[in-house]
């Protein structure tokens, strides 16, 4: 989906009134550093379209270049569904680029914000803590999606 198409889709969804994610979720989000977002590039090993939260597992190098399993927490089934994501959105072995807020403790995991699929389309299985539409636009505007694995950028300009 190109930028114009994405913006038009977002506007239509907003008009329909279904753009808001869940304010509440199964647990607190205090374990994530929501002040920043990090890009992780890898291959899908599991897509758990689950309650109380979905989890996308991706094989990707860590900071030392060793291949590791990265875990990204997304929304519950119903919330992901209303953002157009379902149980067949991601295929095993598919290359993805994930933008997420990392765990504060430095482990290879984070709160999923949005995922760029191999064909360049954007998917939003995120929970309410990330405004994925705003964040997609921000990463596009800043040119950060042209960056590299583990590039990290602030959530806001202040």
């Amino acid at each position: 989906m190109n930028k114009t198409t994405f913006a038009a889709t977002a506007a239509l969804l907003a008009v329909a009134g279904y753009i808001a994610g869940p304010a509440d979720a199964h647990h607190s989000f205090a374990m994530f550093d929501l002040s920043q977002h990090r890009l992780v590039e890898g291959q899908v090993s599991e897509w758990n379209y689950n309650n109380p939260h979905s989890w996308l597992l991706v094989e990707a190098p860590d900071a030392n270049g060793e291949m590791k399993t990265w875990s990204f927490e997304g929304a519950a089934v119903v919330h992901a569904a209303r953002q157009g994501v379902n149980g067949t959105t991601y295929r095993k072995g598919e290359k993805v680029r994930v933008v997420m807020s990392p765990l504060r403790d430095g482990r290879n995991a984070g709160a999923l914000c949005f995922v760029v699929k191999e064909d360049g389309s954007f998917t939003r299985p995120n929970d309410g803590i990330c405004n994925s539409e705003e964040m997609i636009a921000r990463w596009q505007d800043k040119g950060w999606l042209e960056g590299h694995h583990l590039d990290t950028h602030p959530t806001a300009d202040e």
Binding site: D24, A81, G128, P154
Partner: protein, 341 residues
């Protein structure tokens, strides 16, 4: 040059946010989404016809006014079919100055004095102080798969279904399979001699309005970030289907909370549920799921919510497990696994 400047600003901003503990960024993110939810259509709060000291007194007054209740048949009973999602509610205004869903979780909200009893107000202030410090409440009972129960059921933002029958109403929440059963025309029964997450609910119909009295509820929270309820909590609800300002189907629930241990006096709020035909069109159906087997969150030694991750000995495969991996046909995720490239 512009890119260099932008990157420099970004790095500096990241460093500043990290130094500040990112509390304000968290508050912004949570606040932005909650504000959108708070903008959903809201019904007017209707206070009880007079002050009642107890839920029993309130319920019996309404029952008498309804002449013992409307005796519906399967052909006359209100049908609240389809999928429903939680909408807006006024509950935060009970406990916070100018409280709304937009301020319920975010730092900056001020606790209303004198609404809660002294120990409950003190606890609530400590909870809000944690939100001020960390941007949100660090730990929630749902982390350990403890049931939200009522009154939180009224707000939990998963998908719900409602089935009304002459002798029972079933209110089913996708969230942890919490189904409330309302026994129409019945009396409270507690043969177990204990409380439970959803308590015991009885009700009657007053025309198209369903009146419910719930008691024997486990102590829990109004919702994360809000005060605790005590084991003396009871509530009287009046449910009715209406249409909101945009013509969409809406279930409106007028609620009065009775809690002589937690509340100085009874408090009322209005909750809404919005009809969600879009979810049905997207293929959403309520499936059985069990938090204990699909969640890897836990409370750590410092009181924070944390996760077990793949590789940790405590990690559970959220897809489930099999005792017979050597046998064909035992995979619990055959559709995804079959799609391997």
């Amino acid at each position: 040059m512009q890119i260099t400047k932008t990157l420099t600003r970004a790095v500096l901003a990241a460093a500043m946010c990290a130094a500040m503990g990112s509390v304000h960024a968290q508050g912004r993110a949570a606040d932005a989404v909650a504000r959108e939810q708070a903008s959903l259509p809201m019904a007017e709060l209707e206070l009880p016809p007079k002050d009642f000291k107890t839920a029993e007194e309130h319920y019996n007054y309404l029952l008498e006014k309804a002449h013992g209740g409307t005796k519906h048949t399967m052909t006359t009973i209100p049908v609240w079919d389809g999928l429903w999602g939680s909408g807006n509610n006024t509950m935060p205004a009970i406990f916070l100055e100018d409280g709304t869903l937009a301020t319920a979780w975010a730092p900056g909200a001020k606790v209303k004095q004198g609404v809660l009893t002294s120990p409950y107000e003190q606890h609530f202030k400590e909870r809000r102080a944690e939100i001020e410090k960390y941007g949100q409440q660090r730990y929630d009972r749902l982390t350990n798969c403890e049931y939200p129960g009522v009154p939180r059921w009224l707000w939990e933002p998963y998908v719900k279904e409602f089935v009304n029958m002459p002798n029972q109403s079933w209110m089913m929440n996708d969230m942890m399979n919490e189904t409330r059963r309302v026994y129409i025309g019945g009396e409270h029964v507690n043969m177990e001699g204990k409380h439970s997450p959803l308590g015991d609910s009885i009700g009657f119909w007053d025309g198209d309005k369903l009146v419910i009295w719930t008691k024997w509820v486990n102590p829990a929270d109004y919702v994360r970030g809000m005060p605790l309820t005590s084991n003396q909590f009871e509530m009287v609800e009046t449910w009715e289907e209406r249409h909101n300002a945009s013509g969409a189907r809406q279930l409106v629930t007028q609620v009065t909370f009775y809690d002589p241990v937690g509340l100085v006096k009874p408090q009322s709020a209005v909750y809404t549920h919005e009809s969600r035909p879009d979810l049905a069109a997207a293929g959403v159906r309520i499936r059985l799921w069990e938090c204990e087997s699909s969640s890897n969150s836990y409370k750590d030694a410092e009181g924070n919510t944390q996760f077990y991750l793949p590789g940790d000995p405590e990690y559970k495969d959220p897809r489930g497990f099999t005792d017979f991996p050597e046998l064909p046909g035992q995979s619990l995720n055959p559709i995804f696994d079959a799609g391997a490239q």
